[in-house]
Amino acid sequence: MSILVILEQRGNLKICGLEAASASRKVAEASGMTLNALYLGRAFDENPSVLAGLGISTLYAYENEDLHYYSNERYVHILCELARELEAKVIVCPATAVGKELCASAAARLQIELAQDCVALDWNETLKAVKPIYAGKVISDVSFSKLPGLVSLRPNTAAIERRGEDLPAIVRRDMPLIPARSTILEVAEAMSGYVDLTEAKIIVAGGRGIGGPENWPVLQDLCEALGAALGASRAAVDAGWIDASHQVGQTGKVVCPDLYIACGISGAIQHLAGMRTAKIIVAINRDPEAPIFQFCDYGIVGDLLEIVPKLAGEIRNRRTN
């Protein structure tokens, strides 16, 4: 009896897979089952220390060129085969776009119960999960009536927990013969080097207060120092200072970065609607009455053209030292 967790890769191992492993370990310990992991890809050539201390007993790495990109037929086939082989009672997968589809197909193929997009896992005589429903208005406790059961776990809900340095044993296998009906001919990847605003962890945004498009380099310098994406308020876009693809706000992009630095942005409610869920908000504005100061975690009243370069310089200093 074991638990199987799927480690998703997009070239590199994704963090959500490691989170799923930590969440699965909790279930493994409570149920007394072994925790195994499944990897599908071109080759598992990561530094094995990435799996250290996660509690994974064995990693089954299926390595083949045809597994590099997600292919429903191949992934589902392998997962079902392995789950049966290991007598997995619980299968856990990250609830990414790939993961959710994989789970749905696998559950149907294996004829087992499935709970998608859960935020927590537990064990009490059977597999338990916590699942938000009705667009998050209700949090439901799900209990599996039969095992095996399949769950997908929402990214960013479990913390990665490492205890000690133990590495899993790695079993490498080739892709079995699969009667697949499709082949991936070409994958067109999005522009590299372009930090998508909606996925950026750090955003520096400029508003009417920057004074004019000639001052964007000041903010771009800070972006570079931080590895941040550049955003803008509607005022700057309407004034023609920057393209609308940078607009953050109710009618622009809704972002959820770890750090949002608002420069020369007054904080009108339409802008807040686009960035209010940022974990930390820093505001730099000349006007002490600006609404954004009611809303930010750190506020600096002053001229951004003076402050931002100083900020960028200090960050660079600390990085090199």
Partner: protein, 665 residues
């Protein structure tokens, strides 16, 4: 005096024309009746309706809003009624020479004098209007109308022919009609020199011209050209809307027989909406006052209505034919209502400000057609501006358009001595704060001011606090009837838990929906806007105010949903005056005030082209006042943004904030 041949010829022409007239009229009636039942009973209070219609027709009340143009038109209208008798005389006179409806009485004599006089006045009217249309080319009358030229020609021609016909007959002493032709008689002198035979020919020719031109005018009615407004207009005014302008109809979303909601085909309009299209005279008063048309956006109300009219005429007959059989009527002639007759952009551009309805002389209701089409696009096709989708979702899940946490809704009132209904259970006033007043930093100041006032006046009030949720009024204007009704049901349930005498609100949109639209959901709340409430307080002297040392000149911006839609113009002005403001009056105020651009859901959408708020701000600044006052959080947000953009030092304050400044502590 007609020859037998002429009489026979005329008989056939007359009966043929009458036949054509009846046939086309029957089609037009059928096209109107192709429409569904109208949500309002349009025959209620019939005597009042008839009286109103007659006043509009004979006194030309709405047309005379443009005095000079109106006067010229009035001459033609009165002339039309006067000439009706003459037309009968003329046609009957073909067969019964000397026929006069009034016999050989003094009345007939007076009538003839009047008819002659009006022939000249009508000519003057026609000439005046033609000069205005084609020489001065006013903004509302584009594109150039050929139909108008044709109608001018036939009206003018008929009058000229009438005078010529009678003049010639008098000249050759064959005049058989009764009465004293004061004008034609004088014209007769012109023909003194002509010999008899040419005169006779001229006389017959003039008679025929007169007859044919009159028949053409009757035909032009029912082709139809916009001349149809002669019949459709008064009818439309008779059936004009008596319920509030911004009251939207409650759709029965639980109707299991309904295969579609909203309007996507012309036959889904009501009969009144169809009649509107025939009543349109393409005067352009709607467009010249429409905020979207004057800022170059896709919607031009006149083109919108005309587009719908052409669609009805083009596809209506086929649709009528298909109704009898089982044939599927998908996009008859390949023409769709939304997309071909009117563009989707035009449908989404509207801010529902009501300026079109206000200025239309024919009582056309533009807004309902637009919101009906939006409902179809949203409810049936999920086809709406993408910026709105986030807002809809936020309203649904977080109970406010920006997605802020519902638990934080009462944070603005912390430490402010603002009671909450959950604890108090009953109060005289339930103060509906609204989403802007609760979450928007700028508008929170209005709530703070209002709280200060309520406490200073010793009012028994409470707010819903966390239990308040967006009433989704703006989502409804965008066509999301489903979201609106869900929110309404929730709110009514919440309100039913508590006892209160009336609902006070600082937002005209909330005010409008609670007052005018909630009754359709079976509740009857007394609702008051804070402008009316403050006026009450000031009149009852419940507030101790200190007059300001300097009387600032202030201009009041009339919000659409307060003014045009609910008739509240004076209350906020009285409030400002009692606060010691020197009110400045200017042209674009009250009924004709321009929208700030945020209505109709546009607060949540991107704006293309020139900014409506920018336009309005310019108008307000041009009044020369030192400060702007308003009574709506949307308006204040839009105007504040524009003033900041233009770098103006002028500020906008809500009337509550102005009063709060002057309360003695």
């Amino acid at each position: 005096m007609l020859t037998t041949l002429e009489k026979v010829l005329f008989f056939f022409i007359l009966t043929g024309s009458m036949g054509y007239f009846l046939w086309r009229t029957w089609l037009l009636i059928r096209l109107v009746r192709m429409g569904k039942r109208d949500p309002e009973c349009r025959t209620e209070h019939l005597p009042a309706r008839v009286g109103g219609m007659l006043a509009d027709v004979f006194l030309q009340r709405r047309v005379l809003r443009k005095p000079v143009t109106g006067l010229f038109h009035l001459l033609i209208v009165w002339g039309f009624f006067v000439f009706a008798v003459n037309t009968i005389n003329h046609f009957a006179g073909a067969f019964f020479p000397g026929f006069h409806l009034f016999g050989e009485t003094a009345l007939a004599n007076h009538y003839t004098m009047l008819a002659d006089l009006f022939a000249v006045l009508i000519l003057a009217g026609v000439l005046g209007l033609a000069i205005r249309r084609y020489l001065f080319r006013p903004a509302g009358l584009t594109p150039r109308s050929v139909e108008s030229a044709i109608v001018f020609f036939f009206i003018g021609g008929a009058m000229a022919a009438y005078l010529l016909n009678n003049a010639v007959e008098i000249a050759i002493n064959t005049h058989e009609g009764v009465g004293h032709h004061i004008v034609a008689g004088r014209l007769a002198a012109l023909f003194g020199g002509m010999t008899e035979i040419p005169l006779r020919v001229l006389g017959h020719a003039a008679w025929w011209c007169d007859a044919i031109m009159h028949l053409m005018l009757i035909a032009l009615l029912v082709i139809p050209t916009k001349h149809l407004h002669l019949a459709a207009g008064p009818l439309n005014l008779l059936f004009k809307r008596s319920r509030p302008c911004a009251q939207m109809v409650k759709m029965d979303l639980e109707d299991e027989n309904a295969s579609s909601f909203g309007v996507s085909r012309i036959e889904e309009f009501s009969w009144k909406q169809n009649l509107d299209l025939f009543a349109c005279i393409e005067c352009g008063r709607c467009s010249t006052h429409c905020p979207t048309a004057i800022t170059g956006k896709a919607l031009n109300p006149k083109e919108f209505i005309v587009g719908l009219k052409h669609h009805l005429l083009e596809t209506g007959p086929d649709t009528l034919a298909a109704q009898g059989s089982d044939t599927k009527k998908d996009g008859i002639n390949g023409k769709n209502l939304i997309g071909d007759a009117v563009s989707k952009d035009a449908v989404w551009s509207c801010t529902t400000c009501g300026n079109c309805v206000e200025h239309c002389p024919m009582g056309i209701e533009h807004i309902d057609k637009i919101t009906d089409m939006r409902a179809h696009l949203v409810l049936m096709q999920s086809d709406f501006p993408p910026e709105a989708s986030g807002t809809f979702r936020n309203m649904e899940t977080a109970g406010n358009p920006w997605g802020f946490a519902p638990e934080e809704r009462a944070n603005w009132a912390e430490d402010m001595n603002v009671p909450v209904m959950m604890e108090k259970k009953r109060a005289d006033i339930l103060w509906w704060v609204g989403c802007s007043g609760a979450y928007d930093e700028r508008c929170k100041k209005i709530s703070v001011a209002m709280a200060k006032i309520l406490n200073a006046a010793g009012m028994d009030f409470a707010i819903l606090g966390k239990e308040e949720r967006c009433n989704c009024e703006s989502a409804r204007r965008l066509g999301n009837e489903y979201l609106y009704q869900t929110a309404t049901r929730e709110i009514i349930e919440t309100l039913n838990k508590y006892e209160f005498r009336r609902i006070l609100t600082t937002c005209p949109h909330c005010y409008n929906t609670f007052k005018n639209e909630y009754p359709l959901f079976g509740v009857d709340y007394e609702v008051i806007h804070h402008s009316e409430f403050l006026e009450e307080l000031m009149a009852a002297k419940r507030l101790q105010t200190v007059p300001p040392s300097i009387r600032n000149t202030t201009v009041f911006h009339d919000s659409c949903y307060l003014g045009r839609h609910n008739g509240i113009y004076d209350a906020p002005r009285k409030v400002l005056e009692s606060a010691g403001c020197a009110l400045v009056s200017f042209r674009e105020e009250k009924k004709g005030a321009l929208c700030c651009g945020a209505g109709g859901g546009h607060m949540w959408l991107d704006e293309a082209g020139e900014s409506i708020a920018g336009h309005r701000t310019e108008e307000l600044l041009s009044s020369g006042a030192a400060g702007i006052a308003a009574a709506c959080p949307f308006c204040i947000t839009m105007l504040t943004d524009e003033l900041k953009k233009s770098g103006s030092a002028t500020g906008v304050l809500d009337i509550a904030e102005i009063i709060a400044l002057h309360i003695t502590p």
